[in-house]
């Protein structure tokens, strides 16, 4: 990652990625031909078998384009495809793929891009190469060429017999080459940006597919959220029923017995009183733990930054918290963020073998961003039974995303992003 390259550096770098896109045109053309052939075979049924795997291959190829374009132009291109339906029969799959407008836009891309790239991203690179060729001609290649009776047109300068004897031609060629190189570097960034826009227009999601994807995501995250809160309510109900409620019943019974014993056997009454007091203390302790599990007091009092600090204080590892939150996110987001961090910290203590943890909370770009870094052994995965999937689902209800970076040997970095506003601090 480079930090804000200078304008000169941008100019120097811009002409070259386009040549890569130009080369990528070769497999693109081949795949395009194969694809058209497969479509041609739909009539005899073979195409129905061939089109789906080829479509997947095409998507792999356009993904390469998307990644490269995102990387070199800074224009983020999302995948536009409608989600897969697992386990559907092949002909349904064939129809579904053909109904996805992104499939046809990919096809258009494959047909048009090898030509478009020539006039956009690849043009500066080609100009510079041509310019360098001009210099070489002016330097020695022109002499060599004419010596062996060859000839060449350099734009409008005919490189032929006597090229070397005419200094104006030689100088002209060099000058032309210089102009071409200058043009290449001058228009490089602009043409690369134009190519980025072209890529985004064709390879990115359309409004309609964006909405479809969004609806699907919302449906999923809503059902996750509903399930999670139903499970949570069941847990709370059970805990209350088996804990505090039962203890209060026992206390009531003890008090009733004490009433009877007060005159007859004060000694025994005293014993029962002590037991009743113990019951009430235990009921309190259980209620306390329960409430803490629902909504920790520090979170309610002070917000997510201080609540995470309080977590850090209670944690067995050395946890360092830095926070830069000028306000408080809404209560539901705060709560989701807090429990996510709590879960990640529990993981770090259990699985990572870390001794230090760093937590950073900030609000940037309209989202609450939290990163949790530990110096453990790394190698964590989302599906390693670490509950990270659960966190993902939990914050998914708020359109939050979780990213895990955990190379073997560490450090492990878990990043959470929850889109939210901030309420001014009271």
């Amino acid at each position: 990652m480079d930090i804000a390259p200078t304008r000169r550096l941008t100019r120097l770098r811009a002409p070259w990625p386009g040549l890569g896109f130009l080369l990528l045109g070769v497999p693109t053309c081949l795949l395009y031909c194969a694809y058209l052939t497969a479509f041609g075979l739909v009539g005899i049924g073979l195409g129905v078998l061939l089109v789906p795997p080829l479509t997947i291959a095409v998507r792999g190829l356009t993904d390469v384009y998307r990644r490269r374009i995102s990387a070199v132009t800074g224009t983020e291109i999302e995948r536009p495809y409608l989600p897969d339906v697992p386990g559907e029969p092949i002909h349904r799959r064939f129809i579904r793929l053909l109904q996805d407008p992104a499939t046809w836009r990919d096809l258009l891309w494959m047909a048009a891009d090898p030509i478009v790239v020539l006039f956009t991203a690849a043009l500066p690179g080609l100009l510079i190469i041509e310019g360098v060729w001009g210099w070489l001609l002016a330097g020695f290649a022109g002499d060599l060429l004419t010596q062996y009776g060859g000839n060449d047109w350099y734009l409008f300068i005919h490189v032929t017999d006597g090229f070397g004897d005419d200094p104006t031609q030689r100088i002209g060629t060099a000058a032309l080459g210089t102009v071409l190189i200058a043009l290449g570097f001058a228009f490089g960034p602009a043409l690369l940006r134009a190519y980025g826009r072209w890529g985004a227009a064709l390879l990115g999601p359309t409004e309609a597919s964006k909405l479809k994807l969004r609806v699907r995501h919302l449906t999923e995250s809503r059902s996750d959220a509903v399930d999670a809160s139903a499970a949570e309510l069941r847990r709370i109900e059970r805990d209350l029923h088996d804990g505090a409620q039962a203890r209060l019943v026992a206390m009531g019974m003890s008090l009733g017995a004490i009433e009877h014993l007060l005159d007859k056997d004060p000694e025994k009454a005293r014993l029962l009183l002590a037991r009743a007091r113990e019951s009430s203390a235990q009921a309190l302790a259980e209620l306390r733990d329960l409430v803490r599990g629902i909504h920790p007091p520090v979170l309610a009092d002070r917000g997510v930054a201080d609540a995470v600090r309080a977590l850090a204080l209670d944690h067995p590892l050395a946890v360092e918290v830095t926070a830069d939150l000028p306000g408080r996110p809404g209560a539901p987001v705060e709560s989701a963020a807090y429990f996510a961090v709590a879960e990640i910290l529990t993981n770090a203590a259990k699985h990572s073998g870390a001794s230090r943890v760093w937590i950073d909370l900030r609000h940037a770009g309209g989202a609450l961003r939290i990163s949790v870094t530990d110096d453990g052994r790394g190698g964590a995965s989302l599906d390693g039974g670490t509950g990270l999937r659960g966190i993902e689902r939990r914050i998914g209800a708020f359109d939050g995303v979780l990213a895990l970076n955990s190379p073997p040997g560490g450090p492990t970095v878990v990043t959470l992003e929850l889109p939210c506003g901030l309420n001014a601090l009271a």
Binding site: V298, D301, R309
Partner: protein, 214 residues
């Protein structure tokens, strides 16, 4: 002892008032919200304030904030904070100015009236009283690769009681050993933790808490 009390639940407020009065305290004011508490504290300058953490109007840590603000205006004003939960973060904030005369207890400790009143007296006398739960968690956290890990189980017990603000005599009574033995343990503990030994009970408590709170 002249006491100012802040608790928003009427039932509990009455209970605390009668409990403290039964043990010979004078209640100067019993209030139910943050702003009145601050006013009462600055106005009456009580020997000790007994404060619930969560108070109206905001129902957040209003009581704690009012108590801290009062201590900023009246340095060393003795404050005993009561809470349904003990939070390390709040314990830290109470201890931050290092002058002592603070307490932080779970509300359940009121069940044992004698011990509770003893805590109020110790805070009024400039001592520091921390809930056993706070100390237990601090010690538990400190037992990884720190000098605390080098303490014997017996020394850990003494450390916890010491951090709660008990005197050597009280610790001896609790652990059923002689005071001489306790003195020896404390000397060992201070040696292992690299703290300067002090005869003053309260300074000793603060040193231990500061150490555990790093």
């Amino acid at each position: 002892m002249r006491v100012v009390l802040a608790e928003d639940l009427a039932l509990l407020r009455e209970g605390l008032v009668s409990l403290l009065e039964a043990h010979g305290c004078t209640i100067l004011a019993a209030v139910d919200n943050g702003p009145s508490l601050l006013k009462a504290l600055v106005e009456h300058r009580p020997d000790v304030a007994v404060v619930d953490v969560r108070l109206p109007p905001s129902f957040t840590d209003e009581g704690l904030q009012a108590a801290l603000e009062a201590r900023r205006r009246v340095p060393g004003l003795p404050v005993l904070v009561l809470s349904q939960y003990v939070e390390q973060l709040y314990a830290r904030e109470l201890l931050a100015d290092g002058t002592g005369a603070v307490g932080y207890l779970l509300k359940d400790r009121v069940f044992d009236a004698a011990q509770f009143v003893d805590a109020v007296r110790r805070v009024a006398g400039g001592g520091t009283v921390m809930d056993p739960e706070v100390i237990a968690r601090l010690v538990a956290r400190g037992t990884r690769d720190t000098p605390v890990a080098r303490l014997t189980p017996r020394e850990l017990e003494v450390l916890e009681l010491m951090a709660q603000g008990r005197s050597n005599a009280a610790i001896a009574q609790q652990l059923v050993v002689t005071e001489r033995a306790v003195a020896k343990h404390t000397a060992n503990i201070f040696g292992k933790l690299g703290l300067a030994v002090s005869d003053d009970d309260n300074r000793r408590v603060l040193a231990v808490l500061a150490y555990l709170n790093r």
